[in-house]
């Protein structure tokens, strides 16, 4: 028999505000999206009433080549940017965790990208990518000779890599801070014991640092992957999904369908698919990468 105590009532009361916002801002819109995905809902109300159209939106979505290209681009982006960004942030965290001079100063500098809004960062990078004489092309011409330049954002083969480079740089300080906290959590005694055991720096990384960061790695892998799958701002400002759909991601596709062409019902079908896909990926990652201490 369970006895309800005064304490439990208080706990429920404290949960209520958060519960209200979760239901109002996440659960309700999601349920609405599910409903819209089976209708021909438009962004601006029309004289003809919205009607239930079954799975038509899903059927159209699965035969649209641009949808599949968006999926492909999103997966490619996530597969490249996640390891690049995690490697960058781990490397930076290790440097900033070591006894370098002016460490506090460099730690402050390293988190600067985190303080800038993404729109500002993208605008700065747009200048860096500029043709024919932006800073990146100036460096390129130093090697390739005057008159040569790369159209980083206009060439389908370099556009996605340019977005990857920008995205990896823009948000890596967040991962770096978490890695830094993880590194500081590894007892120094372990490194000293390993030194006495004859472990070289690489072996100390392999046998102490890497296993010591297991839980941090799992957490960062999941949030970085999910973040990468949600790529939008960089693409919308820099390339608008072009050239020829080379940087169209699933969220950008969804946005264009929902707002540019006003097909909210169709965009909702894409959103529901995206939600299910991201949830499945996160669950799979959790299943295959168990935290330290989990069975």
């Amino acid at each position: 028999m369970r006895i309800r105590t005064k304490g439990q009532g208080q706990e429920l009361a404290m949960l209520l505000p958060a519960l209200f916002f979760i239901i109002a801002l996440i659960v309700t819109p999601f349920l609405l999206s599910v409903w819209f995905s089976f209708t021909d809902q438009r962004l601006v109300p029309r004289p003809i009433p919205t009607k239930f159209i079954g799975t038509t939106n899903y059927e159209r979505m699965f035969v649209d080549p641009l949808f599949w290209q968006a999926i492909w681009n999103t997966v490619v982006f996530a597969l490249i940017v996640t390891p690049v960004q995690l490697a960058m942030s781990l490397g930076a965290a290790m440097v900033l965790n070591s006894a370098i001079p002016f460490r506090g100063f460099f730690r402050s500098i390293a988190i600067l990208p985190l303080l800038l809004p993404m729109t500002v960062i993208v605008s700065i990078w747009a200048v860096l990518f500029r043709i024919p004489a932006g800073p990146f092309n100036a460096v390129y011409q130093w090697f390739a000779g005057q008159g040569n330049y790369v159209d980083f954002l206009g060439n389908p083969s370099t556009a996605m890599l340019s977005v990857v480079a920008l995205s990896a740089w823009a948000t890596f300080p967040y991962q770096m801070l978490i890695y830094l906290a993880g590194l500081q959590d590894i007892p120094q005694d372990l490194y000293e014991a390993a030194k006495l055991d004859g472990a070289k720096p690489w072996q100390r990384f392999r046998y102490i640092t890497w296993p010591g960061l297991r839980n941090v790695n799992i957490f960062l892998l999941i949030i970085t992957t999910v973040g990468a799958l949600k790529l939008f701002t960089q693409v919308d400002i820099l390339t608008k999904g072009g050239p020829n759909g080379a940087t169209t991601t699933i969220i950008h596709y969804l946005f264009k369908q929902g707002y540019a062409t006003q097909k909210v019902g169709y965009a909702s079908a894409v959103a529901v698919f995206f939600f299910l896909a991201v949830t499945a990926i996160a669950l799979l990652q959790r299943r295959f990468l168990k935290n330290e201490g989990e069975a």
Partner: protein, 332 residues
């Protein structure tokens, strides 16, 4: 087995000198305990032997080899840390054999040595477990196993028992002493606990402010402490000290007498009032305030029926007095 020789060893952190020039020889095969209060430099000294702390000046020799600037793994030493420093993701067997694996030893040889060490330390049934699945005492044994499996010239222990409860600490003291008798290796042990020092060491080095106050056999330090610091540090409860006119009457600037050398005596020269009594069963500790002398602790055998506020007389043998003048011992 090897001796460890410190020659004019200095240690500075910036402008602060932790160890201001220290000469010390730790004999081959000895169980030497470095003891002293927090901040006296004992752990720094141990870490300098290990190569985990740089030497600011002077040299360290192990078995005749100058190891002052050698890599920690090249010194032929093994260390047991206060936190045990076991690799959390490795099994007990992997923890013990890790150093051998890195040295490139054949797997069969590693397995044989690990099995041997595990049997010595009664760890055989735990070899597949992870450190977090072990008790404090078992972790301690694994840390010792990791040390002995490498067959080092010198074992270093950095307060290895301080995380254990009192009963386990007493048990591990005996086990460590037995281990030393069995393998006969040079062992250097750091502690701030004088009981550990007295019970395990065949040689104690008392440190204070980075300097050696006295080095010698435990009973030598107990019977003939060279300085008031050693007299007060070695022995439990702490030695009673008498100063001023009463001390001068007894032959020193400062006179010490151990609580176990004071006795309740109807003819005793000192009159005191009992402040507090601790009944420990086999003995009784009496805290008293003596006229013209000050606070005194008396350790009496058996259970003594006394109450706070009662007046007592205290006697002693003059041969048990420790006289000091100018900070040094005055020979009896």
């Amino acid at each position: 087995m090897a001796d460890v020789v410190f020659s004019a060893v200095h240690k500075r952190y910036g402008a602060v000198e932790i160890i201001p020039g220290l000469d010390l020889t730790i004999p081959e095969g000895s169980f030497t305990v470095l003891v002293g209060p927090s901040g006296c430099g004992k752990s720094t000294l141990l870490r300098m032997i290990a190569g985990l702390e740089e030497v600011s000046g002077g040299s360290i020799h192990i078995g005749g080899d100058d190891v002052t600037t050698s890599d920690p793994s090249q010194r032929g030493i093994a260390m047991v840390f206060q936190s045990y420093a076991l690799y959390p993701h490795m099994s007990v067997a992997d923890n013990i054999g890790f150093g051998l694996k890195l040295s490139g030893m054949a797997k069969t040889e590693i397995a044989a040595r690990v099995a041997d060490a595990a049997e010595t330390l009664q760890l055989t049934h735990l070899l597949d477990r992870k450190p977090k699945q072990l008790s404090g005492g078992q972790r301690q044994r694994v840390a010792i196993g990791r040390a002995i499996v490498r067959k080092p010239r010198v074992f270093l222990f950095d307060e290895p028992l301080s995380n254990l409860d009192a009963a386990l600490r007493a048990q591990m003291r005996v086990e460590l002493a037995e281990l030393h008798s069995r393998i006969g290796a040079t062992m250097v042990y750091v502690t701030h606990d004088q009981v550990e020092a007295m019970t395990m060491a065949d040689r104690i080095v008392v440190l204070n402010g980075g300097r050696i106050e006295q080095a010698g056999a435990p009973m030598e330090l107990y019977r003939q402490p060279a300085t008031p610091f050693v007299a007060g540090f070695i022995g439990s409860p702490r030695m009673n000290f008498i100063t001023g006119e009463e001390a001068r009457k007894l032959g020193g600037d400062l006179v010490g007498i151990r609580p176990e050398h004071l006795r309740l005596s109807e003819n005793g020269p000192w009159i005191a009032s009992v402040r507090h009594v601790e009944h420990l069963g086999a003995e009784t500790l009496i805290y008293a305030e003596a006229e013209a002398i000050g606070p005194l602790t008396i350790k009496a055998e058996g259970d003594v029926a006394l109450e706070a506020g009662k007046s007592i007389r205290i006697g002693f043998n003059t041969t048990d007095l420790h006289r000091f003048a100018g900070g040094r011992r005055v020979p009896n």
